[in-house]
Symmetry: C2
Subunit: 237 residues, 2 copies
Protein backbone atom coordinates (compact mmCIF):
# COMPACT_ATOMS: atom_id res chain seq x y z
CA UNK A 1 0.00 0.00 0.00
CA UNK A 2 2.95 2.32 -0.47
CA UNK A 3 2.30 3.25 -4.05
CA UNK A 4 1.81 6.88 -3.05
CA UNK A 5 5.27 7.39 -1.65
CA UNK A 6 6.23 9.93 -4.27
CA UNK A 7 2.89 11.57 -4.91
CA UNK A 8 3.51 15.09 -6.10
CA UNK A 9 0.19 16.06 -4.56
CA UNK A 10 1.66 15.61 -1.11
CA UNK A 11 4.63 17.82 -1.64
CA UNK A 12 3.08 21.22 -1.47
CA UNK A 13 5.06 24.40 -1.81
CA UNK A 14 6.44 25.21 1.60
CA UNK A 15 4.28 27.52 3.61
CA UNK A 16 3.89 30.88 1.97
CA UNK A 17 0.38 31.63 0.93
CA UNK A 18 -1.50 28.55 2.03
CA UNK A 19 -2.25 29.61 5.60
CA UNK A 20 -2.16 33.09 6.97
CA UNK A 21 0.24 33.71 9.83
CA UNK A 22 -1.51 35.50 12.67
CA UNK A 23 1.28 35.44 15.26
CA UNK A 24 4.72 34.08 16.15
CA UNK A 25 5.60 32.24 19.33
CA UNK A 26 8.92 32.79 21.09
CA UNK A 27 10.17 29.93 23.22
CA UNK A 28 13.44 28.70 24.74
CA UNK A 29 14.06 26.13 21.99
CA UNK A 30 16.13 27.44 19.04
CA UNK A 31 15.92 24.01 17.33
CA UNK A 32 13.61 21.02 17.51
CA UNK A 33 16.02 19.17 19.82
CA UNK A 34 14.85 18.89 23.39
CA UNK A 35 11.26 19.95 22.74
CA UNK A 36 8.79 17.76 24.70
CA UNK A 37 6.72 15.53 22.42
CA UNK A 38 3.41 17.01 23.46
CA UNK A 39 2.18 20.20 25.00
CA UNK A 40 1.59 20.33 28.75
CA UNK A 41 4.36 17.90 29.70
CA UNK A 42 6.51 20.70 31.15
CA UNK A 43 4.29 23.42 32.57
CA UNK A 44 7.36 25.50 33.45
CA UNK A 45 8.13 26.14 29.78
CA UNK A 46 7.05 29.67 29.00
CA UNK A 47 6.34 31.12 25.60
CA UNK A 48 5.40 34.55 24.29
CA UNK A 49 2.87 34.88 21.49
CA UNK A 50 3.43 38.05 19.46
CA UNK A 51 0.64 38.96 17.05
CA UNK A 52 1.13 40.21 13.54
CA UNK A 53 0.45 43.97 13.25
CA UNK A 54 -3.05 43.57 11.82
CA UNK A 55 -4.16 41.34 14.70
CA UNK A 56 -2.20 43.13 17.41
CA UNK A 57 -5.18 44.74 19.08
CA UNK A 58 -7.04 44.38 22.39
CA UNK A 59 -10.15 43.80 20.26
CA UNK A 60 -8.86 40.53 18.79
CA UNK A 61 -8.39 38.96 22.24
CA UNK A 62 -11.29 40.56 24.09
CA UNK A 63 -12.69 37.99 26.52
CA UNK A 64 -9.69 35.68 26.29
CA UNK A 65 -8.66 36.46 29.87
CA UNK A 66 -11.63 34.41 31.09
CA UNK A 67 -10.08 31.21 29.73
CA UNK A 68 -7.32 29.28 31.47
CA UNK A 69 -6.23 27.25 28.43
CA UNK A 70 -5.87 27.88 24.71
CA UNK A 71 -5.42 25.92 21.52
CA UNK A 72 -2.58 26.98 19.31
CA UNK A 73 -2.78 25.89 15.68
CA UNK A 74 0.65 26.25 14.15
CA UNK A 75 2.79 25.35 11.19
CA UNK A 76 5.20 22.48 11.41
CA UNK A 77 8.66 23.33 10.17
CA UNK A 78 8.79 20.26 8.00
CA UNK A 79 10.26 21.43 4.69
CA UNK A 80 8.97 18.41 2.83
CA UNK A 81 6.94 15.32 3.31
CA UNK A 82 7.89 11.88 2.12
CA UNK A 83 4.29 11.11 1.24
CA UNK A 84 4.21 7.97 3.33
CA UNK A 85 0.87 7.05 4.88
CA UNK A 86 2.62 5.70 7.96
CA UNK A 87 5.07 7.13 10.47
CA UNK A 88 7.20 5.71 13.28
CA UNK A 89 6.15 7.22 16.61
CA UNK A 90 9.19 7.82 18.86
CA UNK A 91 7.07 6.62 21.79
CA UNK A 92 7.02 3.13 20.28
CA UNK A 93 10.79 3.01 20.02
CA UNK A 94 10.86 4.15 16.42
CA UNK A 95 10.52 0.72 14.84
CA UNK A 96 6.75 0.31 14.63
CA UNK A 97 4.81 2.04 11.88
CA UNK A 98 1.45 3.66 12.62
CA UNK A 99 -0.97 5.46 10.33
CA UNK A 100 -0.32 9.15 9.92
CA UNK A 101 -3.86 9.91 11.17
CA UNK A 102 -3.30 7.77 14.26
CA UNK A 103 -0.36 9.94 15.39
CA UNK A 104 0.47 13.56 16.07
CA UNK A 105 3.58 13.28 13.89
CA UNK A 106 4.58 16.42 11.95
CA UNK A 107 4.84 14.40 8.73
CA UNK A 108 1.26 14.74 7.54
CA UNK A 109 -0.66 15.99 4.48
CA UNK A 110 -1.34 19.42 5.97
CA UNK A 111 1.39 20.75 8.20
CA UNK A 112 -0.78 21.97 11.07
CA UNK A 113 0.16 21.29 14.66
CA UNK A 114 -2.29 21.42 17.55
CA UNK A 115 -1.14 22.28 21.07
CA UNK A 116 -2.99 23.04 24.25
CA UNK A 117 -1.22 25.63 26.40
CA UNK A 118 -2.07 27.43 29.60
CA UNK A 119 -2.69 31.17 29.32
CA UNK A 120 -0.51 32.65 32.06
CA UNK A 121 -1.22 36.28 31.38
CA UNK A 122 -1.82 38.93 28.77
CA UNK A 123 1.24 41.17 28.66
CA UNK A 124 0.37 44.28 26.72
CA UNK A 125 -0.59 42.92 23.31
CA UNK A 126 1.27 39.61 23.82
CA UNK A 127 0.10 36.36 25.35
CA UNK A 128 2.34 34.60 27.87
CA UNK A 129 1.64 30.86 27.74
CA UNK A 130 3.09 27.82 29.47
CA UNK A 131 3.50 24.19 28.55
CA UNK A 132 4.21 24.88 24.87
CA UNK A 133 5.97 22.22 22.78
CA UNK A 134 6.91 24.65 20.02
CA UNK A 135 10.16 25.81 18.54
CA UNK A 136 11.17 29.46 18.82
CA UNK A 137 9.78 31.40 15.88
CA UNK A 138 6.99 28.97 15.03
CA UNK A 139 4.18 30.53 13.00
CA UNK A 140 0.78 30.49 14.67
CA UNK A 141 -2.19 30.29 12.29
CA UNK A 142 -5.02 30.26 14.82
CA UNK A 143 -5.75 30.66 18.51
CA UNK A 144 -8.95 29.24 19.94
CA UNK A 145 -10.15 29.12 23.53
CA UNK A 146 -10.16 25.71 25.23
CA UNK A 147 -13.84 25.02 25.87
CA UNK A 148 -14.00 22.39 28.65
CA UNK A 149 -17.46 20.99 27.85
CA UNK A 150 -16.44 20.28 24.25
CA UNK A 151 -12.69 19.63 24.56
CA UNK A 152 -12.21 17.85 27.88
CA UNK A 153 -12.90 14.11 27.79
CA UNK A 154 -11.61 12.39 30.93
CA UNK A 155 -13.12 9.14 29.68
CA UNK A 156 -11.00 9.17 26.51
CA UNK A 157 -8.79 6.19 25.78
CA UNK A 158 -5.37 7.10 24.49
CA UNK A 159 -4.37 4.21 22.24
CA UNK A 160 -0.64 3.61 22.15
CA UNK A 161 0.15 7.10 23.44
CA UNK A 162 1.58 7.12 26.94
CA UNK A 163 1.58 9.92 29.44
CA UNK A 164 5.36 10.01 29.41
CA UNK A 165 5.45 8.95 33.03
CA UNK A 166 8.87 7.33 32.71
CA UNK A 167 11.40 9.95 33.68
CA UNK A 168 15.17 9.98 33.83
CA UNK A 169 16.96 10.92 37.03
CA UNK A 170 18.89 14.14 36.35
CA UNK A 171 22.30 14.76 37.91
CA UNK A 172 23.05 18.47 37.62
CA UNK A 173 25.84 19.98 39.72
CA UNK A 174 25.22 23.27 41.48
CA UNK A 175 28.18 24.75 39.66
CA UNK A 176 26.71 24.01 36.21
CA UNK A 177 23.20 24.87 37.33
CA UNK A 178 24.34 28.33 38.45
CA UNK A 179 25.34 29.12 34.87
CA UNK A 180 21.73 29.48 33.75
CA UNK A 181 19.18 31.93 35.16
CA UNK A 182 17.27 30.65 38.17
CA UNK A 183 13.89 31.07 36.49
CA UNK A 184 14.93 28.66 33.72
CA UNK A 185 16.31 25.88 35.90
CA UNK A 186 13.11 24.04 36.80
CA UNK A 187 11.98 23.96 33.18
CA UNK A 188 15.35 22.68 31.96
CA UNK A 189 15.45 19.90 34.55
CA UNK A 190 11.97 18.73 33.55
CA UNK A 191 12.93 18.81 29.88
CA UNK A 192 15.98 16.67 30.70
CA UNK A 193 13.89 14.23 32.74
CA UNK A 194 11.83 13.57 29.59
CA UNK A 195 14.95 12.23 27.84
CA UNK A 196 15.71 14.63 25.00
CA UNK A 197 17.96 12.21 23.12
CA UNK A 198 17.11 11.46 19.52
CA UNK A 199 15.43 8.09 19.13
CA UNK A 200 17.32 4.86 18.39
CA UNK A 201 20.28 6.10 20.40
CA UNK A 202 21.55 4.63 23.63
CA UNK A 203 25.28 5.15 23.89
CA UNK A 204 26.43 5.92 27.46
CA UNK A 205 29.70 7.40 26.15
CA UNK A 206 28.08 9.83 23.78
CA UNK A 207 27.64 13.48 24.63
CA UNK A 208 24.31 14.85 23.48
CA UNK A 209 23.41 18.52 23.30
CA UNK A 210 20.67 21.00 22.49
CA UNK A 211 19.97 24.69 22.79
CA UNK A 212 17.79 26.01 25.58
CA UNK A 213 17.08 29.60 26.64
CA UNK A 214 20.27 30.85 25.00
CA UNK A 215 22.49 28.11 26.38
CA UNK A 216 24.09 25.05 24.90
CA UNK A 217 23.30 22.12 27.19
CA UNK A 218 25.52 19.00 27.02
CA UNK A 219 24.74 15.73 28.77
CA UNK A 220 25.26 11.97 28.85
CA UNK A 221 22.78 9.21 29.70
CA UNK A 222 23.69 5.94 31.35
CA UNK A 223 20.84 3.62 32.27
CA UNK A 224 18.13 5.76 33.80
CA UNK A 225 20.50 8.56 34.80
CA UNK A 226 21.14 11.73 32.82
CA UNK A 227 24.21 13.73 33.84
CA UNK A 228 24.63 17.33 32.73
CA UNK A 229 28.23 17.78 31.50
CA UNK A 230 28.42 21.34 30.26
CA UNK A 231 26.41 24.55 30.08
CA UNK A 232 27.63 27.28 27.76
CA UNK A 233 26.24 30.56 26.62
CA UNK A 234 25.01 29.98 23.10
CA UNK A 235 25.90 32.34 20.29
CA UNK A 236 24.17 32.18 16.95
CA UNK A 237 26.57 32.61 14.06
Amino acid sequence: MSSLTKSSFWNKPNGEGDMKKIATIHTDFPTKFGIPRQSGLVEELKGRVVFEPEFRSPDAIRGLDGFSHLWLLWKFNTPENSGSLTVRPPKLGGNVRMGVFATRSPFRPNNIGLSCVRLEKIDGADLIVSGADLMDGTEIVDIKPYVPYADCHPEAVGGFSKDGSERLEVVFSDELKSKIPENKQAALIKVLELDPRPQYQDDPERIYGFGFAGYDVRFTVNGGILTVREIEKFTFC
Copy 2:
Protein backbone atom coordinates in the same frame (compact mmCIF):
# COMPACT_ATOMS: atom_id res chain seq x y z
CA MET B 1 -9.35 49.76 17.02
CA SER B 2 -11.48 48.74 14.05
CA SER B 3 -9.32 50.26 11.36
CA LEU B 4 -8.73 46.83 9.84
CA THR B 5 -12.35 46.14 9.04
CA LYS B 6 -11.80 46.04 5.32
CA SER B 7 -8.30 44.62 5.11
CA SER B 8 -7.88 42.90 1.79
CA PHE B 9 -5.42 40.55 3.44
CA TRP B 10 -8.25 38.93 5.32
CA ASN B 11 -10.31 38.13 2.30
CA LYS B 12 -8.49 35.18 0.90
CA PRO B 13 -9.63 33.28 -2.16
CA ASN B 14 -12.14 30.72 -1.03
CA GLY B 15 -10.69 27.35 -0.24
CA GLU B 16 -9.09 25.74 -3.25
CA GLY B 17 -5.40 25.24 -2.96
CA ASP B 18 -4.66 26.57 0.49
CA MET B 19 -5.31 23.41 2.48
CA LYS B 20 -5.40 19.92 1.14
CA LYS B 21 -8.65 18.00 1.58
CA ILE B 22 -7.98 14.56 3.04
CA ALA B 23 -11.58 13.42 3.58
CA THR B 24 -15.24 14.45 3.58
CA ILE B 25 -17.67 13.98 6.44
CA HIS B 26 -21.28 12.98 5.83
CA THR B 27 -23.77 14.02 8.48
CA ASP B 28 -27.52 14.52 8.87
CA PHE B 29 -27.34 18.30 8.44
CA PRO B 30 -27.72 19.49 4.82
CA THR B 31 -27.38 23.13 5.95
CA LYS B 32 -25.88 24.94 8.92
CA PHE B 33 -29.29 25.26 10.57
CA GLY B 34 -29.79 23.04 13.58
CA ILE B 35 -26.14 22.08 14.01
CA PRO B 36 -25.12 22.11 17.69
CA ARG B 37 -22.67 24.90 18.50
CA GLN B 38 -19.90 22.61 19.65
CA SER B 39 -18.94 19.01 19.15
CA GLY B 40 -19.98 16.45 21.74
CA LEU B 41 -23.25 18.14 22.74
CA VAL B 42 -25.33 15.45 21.01
CA GLU B 43 -23.49 12.15 21.15
CA GLU B 44 -26.28 10.48 19.14
CA LEU B 45 -25.31 12.43 16.02
CA LYS B 46 -23.44 10.07 13.75
CA GLY B 47 -21.15 10.99 10.91
CA ARG B 48 -19.21 9.06 8.29
CA VAL B 49 -15.72 10.17 7.34
CA VAL B 50 -14.84 9.15 3.78
CA PHE B 51 -11.18 9.51 2.81
CA GLU B 52 -9.94 10.87 -0.49
CA PRO B 53 -8.60 8.10 -2.75
CA GLU B 54 -4.93 8.75 -1.96
CA PHE B 55 -5.53 8.45 1.80
CA ARG B 56 -8.13 5.69 1.60
CA SER B 57 -5.90 2.93 2.93
CA PRO B 58 -5.73 0.82 6.09
CA ASP B 59 -2.14 2.10 6.39
CA ALA B 60 -3.19 5.72 6.96
CA ILE B 61 -5.32 4.80 10.00
CA ARG B 62 -3.25 1.95 11.42
CA GLY B 63 -3.43 2.15 15.21
CA LEU B 64 -6.38 4.54 15.25
CA ASP B 65 -8.70 1.85 16.65
CA GLY B 66 -6.90 2.16 20.00
CA PHE B 67 -8.22 5.70 20.47
CA SER B 68 -11.73 6.52 21.65
CA HIS B 69 -11.74 10.15 20.50
CA LEU B 70 -10.39 12.07 17.51
CA TRP B 71 -9.77 15.64 16.50
CA LEU B 72 -11.20 16.69 13.18
CA LEU B 73 -9.67 19.77 11.58
CA TRP B 74 -12.02 21.01 8.91
CA LYS B 75 -12.83 23.90 6.64
CA PHE B 76 -15.54 26.34 7.58
CA ASN B 77 -17.97 27.05 4.79
CA THR B 78 -17.65 30.77 5.23
CA PRO B 79 -17.37 32.19 1.72
CA GLU B 80 -15.98 35.46 2.96
CA ASN B 81 -14.82 37.16 6.08
CA SER B 82 -15.74 40.67 7.10
CA GLY B 83 -12.25 41.24 8.49
CA SER B 84 -13.58 42.29 11.88
CA LEU B 85 -11.38 41.48 14.88
CA THR B 86 -14.47 40.84 17.00
CA VAL B 87 -17.48 38.56 16.69
CA ARG B 88 -20.80 38.22 18.51
CA PRO B 89 -21.04 34.80 20.15
CA PRO B 90 -24.59 33.40 19.96
CA LYS B 91 -24.14 32.14 23.53
CA LEU B 92 -24.04 35.72 24.75
CA GLY B 93 -27.31 36.59 23.05
CA GLY B 94 -25.68 38.01 19.95
CA ASN B 95 -25.24 41.55 21.26
CA VAL B 96 -21.86 41.39 22.98
CA ARG B 97 -18.68 41.50 20.93
CA MET B 98 -15.74 39.28 21.82
CA GLY B 99 -12.31 38.95 20.22
CA VAL B 100 -12.13 36.50 17.34
CA PHE B 101 -9.37 34.57 19.16
CA ALA B 102 -11.53 34.35 22.30
CA THR B 103 -14.27 32.46 20.44
CA ARG B 104 -14.72 29.42 18.24
CA SER B 105 -16.61 31.50 15.67
CA PRO B 106 -16.19 30.51 12.01
CA PHE B 107 -15.38 34.11 11.08
CA ARG B 108 -11.62 34.03 11.60
CA PRO B 109 -8.43 34.69 9.63
CA ASN B 110 -7.90 31.03 8.72
CA ASN B 111 -11.06 29.04 8.21
CA ILE B 112 -10.14 25.97 10.20
CA GLY B 113 -12.60 24.37 12.58
CA LEU B 114 -11.61 22.06 15.42
CA SER B 115 -13.98 19.38 16.68
CA CYS B 116 -13.55 16.50 19.05
CA VAL B 117 -15.62 13.46 18.08
CA ARG B 118 -15.92 9.95 19.40
CA LEU B 119 -14.64 7.18 17.11
CA GLU B 120 -17.50 4.67 17.07
CA LYS B 121 -16.00 2.23 14.62
CA ILE B 122 -13.93 1.76 11.52
CA ASP B 123 -16.26 0.62 8.74
CA GLY B 124 -14.15 -0.66 5.88
CA ALA B 125 -12.08 2.37 4.92
CA ASP B 126 -14.50 4.85 6.55
CA LEU B 127 -14.62 6.18 10.08
CA ILE B 128 -17.96 6.29 11.90
CA VAL B 129 -17.89 9.10 14.45
CA SER B 130 -20.40 10.56 16.89
CA GLY B 131 -20.97 13.97 18.39
CA ALA B 132 -19.93 15.86 15.26
CA ASP B 133 -21.05 19.48 14.84
CA LEU B 134 -20.35 19.52 11.11
CA MET B 135 -22.46 20.08 8.03
CA ASP B 136 -22.88 17.31 5.50
CA GLY B 137 -20.07 17.46 2.95
CA THR B 138 -17.61 19.40 5.11
CA GLU B 139 -14.00 19.05 3.98
CA ILE B 140 -11.68 17.48 6.53
CA VAL B 141 -8.06 18.66 6.36
CA ASP B 142 -6.60 16.64 9.22
CA ILE B 143 -7.45 13.89 11.68
CA LYS B 144 -5.41 13.54 14.87
CA PRO B 145 -5.88 11.18 17.78
CA TYR B 146 -7.13 12.69 21.04
CA VAL B 147 -4.23 12.23 23.45
CA PRO B 148 -5.69 12.46 26.97
CA TYR B 149 -2.51 13.47 28.81
CA ALA B 150 -1.99 16.42 26.47
CA ASP B 151 -5.56 17.33 25.50
CA CYS B 152 -7.69 16.68 28.58
CA HIS B 153 -7.63 19.45 31.18
CA PRO B 154 -10.37 18.97 33.77
CA GLU B 155 -9.02 22.00 35.65
CA ALA B 156 -9.58 24.31 32.66
CA VAL B 157 -11.73 27.38 33.12
CA GLY B 158 -14.10 28.07 30.26
CA GLY B 159 -14.50 31.84 30.18
CA PHE B 160 -17.89 32.94 28.94
CA SER B 161 -18.59 29.62 27.23
CA LYS B 162 -21.36 27.63 28.85
CA ASP B 163 -21.99 23.93 28.72
CA GLY B 164 -25.34 24.47 27.06
CA SER B 165 -27.13 23.03 30.06
CA GLU B 166 -30.30 25.03 29.41
CA ARG B 167 -32.54 22.79 27.34
CA LEU B 168 -35.97 23.25 25.83
CA GLU B 169 -38.76 20.80 26.57
CA VAL B 170 -39.66 19.09 23.29
CA VAL B 171 -43.26 18.18 22.47
CA PHE B 172 -43.20 15.65 19.63
CA SER B 173 -46.34 13.62 18.88
CA ASP B 174 -45.98 9.91 18.22
CA GLU B 175 -47.60 10.43 14.82
CA LEU B 176 -44.99 12.92 13.69
CA LYS B 177 -42.19 11.00 15.35
CA SER B 178 -43.10 7.86 13.42
CA LYS B 179 -42.36 9.66 10.16
CA ILE B 180 -38.62 9.51 10.74
CA PRO B 181 -36.51 6.37 11.19
CA GLU B 182 -36.30 5.13 14.76
CA ASN B 183 -32.50 5.34 14.83
CA LYS B 184 -32.64 9.09 14.11
CA GLN B 185 -35.26 10.04 16.70
CA ALA B 186 -33.07 10.38 19.80
CA ALA B 187 -30.53 12.55 17.96
CA LEU B 188 -33.26 14.82 16.55
CA ILE B 189 -34.88 15.31 19.95
CA LYS B 190 -31.54 16.29 21.51
CA VAL B 191 -30.84 18.70 18.64
CA LEU B 192 -34.27 20.29 19.23
CA GLU B 193 -33.66 20.53 22.99
CA LEU B 194 -30.60 22.69 22.23
CA ASP B 195 -32.88 25.30 20.59
CA PRO B 196 -31.95 25.38 16.90
CA ARG B 197 -33.58 28.75 16.26
CA PRO B 198 -31.41 31.45 14.74
CA GLN B 199 -30.30 34.00 17.34
CA TYR B 200 -32.19 37.21 18.07
CA GLN B 201 -35.48 35.48 17.36
CA ASP B 202 -38.22 34.77 19.84
CA ASP B 203 -41.58 34.80 18.10
CA PRO B 204 -44.01 32.16 19.47
CA GLU B 205 -46.13 32.36 16.29
CA ARG B 206 -43.29 31.76 13.91
CA ILE B 207 -42.67 28.36 12.35
CA TYR B 208 -38.97 27.53 12.15
CA GLY B 209 -37.47 24.71 10.13
CA PHE B 210 -34.30 22.91 9.20
CA GLY B 211 -33.18 19.81 7.36
CA PHE B 212 -32.21 16.71 9.27
CA ALA B 213 -31.43 13.21 8.00
CA GLY B 214 -33.36 13.78 4.79
CA TYR B 215 -36.41 15.35 6.48
CA ASP B 216 -37.71 18.86 6.76
CA VAL B 217 -38.45 19.51 10.44
CA ARG B 218 -40.86 22.33 11.34
CA PHE B 219 -41.45 23.60 14.86
CA THR B 220 -42.55 26.48 17.07
CA VAL B 221 -41.15 27.66 20.39
CA ASN B 222 -43.20 29.23 23.16
CA GLY B 223 -41.42 29.97 26.40
CA GLY B 224 -39.28 26.97 27.19
CA ILE B 225 -41.36 24.57 25.10
CA LEU B 226 -40.58 23.50 21.55
CA THR B 227 -43.42 21.84 19.66
CA VAL B 228 -42.76 19.85 16.49
CA ARG B 229 -45.38 20.87 13.90
CA GLU B 230 -44.45 18.98 10.77
CA ILE B 231 -42.04 16.34 9.46
CA GLU B 232 -41.72 15.93 5.72
CA LYS B 233 -39.44 13.94 3.50
CA PHE B 234 -37.00 16.40 2.10
CA THR B 235 -36.24 16.52 -1.60
CA PHE B 236 -33.33 18.44 -2.99
CA CYS B 237 -34.21 20.26 -6.18
